[in-house]
Amino acid sequence: MNRKSVFGFGMAVAAVAVFAQAQAQGIGAWVTKDANWTASKAALQALGERYATSDALFDALKQAANGGKPLSFPQLAQPAYDWTGIYTRTAGGLNYDPDLPPGPPNPSGPASARLTPAGLAVVKAKAEALMKTGGEFDPLSKCGPPGTPRWFTEPFLKEYVVTPGQTLLINEMVNDIRRVYTDGRPHTSEADAYGSPNGDTIGFWSGDMLVAHTKYLNSGQYQRGVQPNFSDQVNVVERWRKVNPKTLEVDVWSYDPANLAKPWYTRQSYSKLSNDDYNLRIRYWDCGENSNNTIIEKDDGTSQFKDFSFVPDDAAASNDEAVKKAAKAAKP
């Protein structure tokens, strides 16, 4: 047995031990991100894999919480439910999984994602295109929202509003609000459901953890670079918790039979920002307010600025045929 195999075997044993511990505590137990995180993460990944669908995992978590307990207004004064403040993603950059190191992208996609052949083909195509052109076109350039689960990765300001009946998860970028209904309502029925960027989210409170389930999402990508795509079959189970006065963490299991051979588990984290002078405020985000930010998608799949207000003749100033073409098309 070589060193790699020994390490793998050791990790598997450790993961089984952590999983057994979680089982003993009940599958709903929160797992602290500590020195044993690699093994703990493997156990949480295994927990996701134990259930064939996100509905089954969500139902199991709800059963473990005895159906959950409604949150009361007096409870909101307790520190565990005080999620006030302005937060931002703690780490991760363009990696959906913040545990993965920054740097040149892995051409086979994130190491923690078990992709289907179709999902892997998408990632490899992205890697090849990036190598060939050095650029890409982000659908966000059209000013739409990132959509869930990409929502977790956006690097700007976030704000959380906890109430007994619903919790608002707010992303500053494009005024993007997710609502987690915790008033006991079920999902919209299949017959009446329709896809949207953040889907339909219901949840319950298990102690100081907010457990949520999201379905009826649109397709998208986890982030730019060589992050995988998600299809409109993607469903997400989340488990949020305030782990210290300045940090919210969330377990996220993504299920997507089109792109993921197994559910993809990650632990996302958001840090409360210092704002003693109150200068940091979330305001309306108008993506189209400045024409200098208008992006065009080039024929090779990369991006380019269309037309600068401060350049008298963009077609003459630019050596990019895409700019010249756009300028010609814009002429009356």
């Binding site: 703690t90 363009l94 982000d138």
Partner: protein, 131 residues
């Protein structure tokens, strides 16, 4: 103001590290292997989402004025970096360093700027530091 333009080729930096996290588009239109430094006066600070633009008038050796545009992050990230709209009022003399556009247009992505009046440096990328 007299032109002071220096074109410097710097070392290769891994894709995705050299450029800031850009809100709504890929940074491929900027050359992350090059930096330019120009001196001029602020024409306008467009403090907008998803990106802000600092427009700077630069006078060439021939006396011709060219307006350069420097893209940076939106208001909240600039606030986190300690860069306020009032720091760059029209007419403020500055020297700014950027990764230039690849297509030759007078624009780039703002790396750092020094305000001439007090020699203070402004780096938008500090806006992503979690503190």
């Amino acid at each position: 103001m007299k032109t002071n333009m220096i074109r410097t080729v710097i070392g290769v930096v891994a894709l995705g590290i050299a450029l800031p996290v850009l809100a709504h588009h890929s940074g491929g239109m900027f050359d992350d292997k090059k930096e330019i430094t120009v001196s001029g006066t602020v024409r306008e600070f467009q403090y907008t989402n998803p990106h802000s633009w600092l427009l700077v008038d630069v006078t060439g050796d021939d006396g011709k004025v060219t307006t350069w545009g420097f893209e940076t992050e939106g208001p909240s990230t600039l606030t986190r970096a300690g860069i306020r709209k009032s720091d760059f009022t029209p007419g403020t003399p500055i020297t700014i360093t950027a990764n230039p556009m690849r297509d030759g247009r007078p624009a780039g992505t703002w790396s750092r700027a020094i305000r001439t009046s007090d020699n203070k440096e402004f780096s938008p990328r500090g806006g992503f530091v979690v503190k």
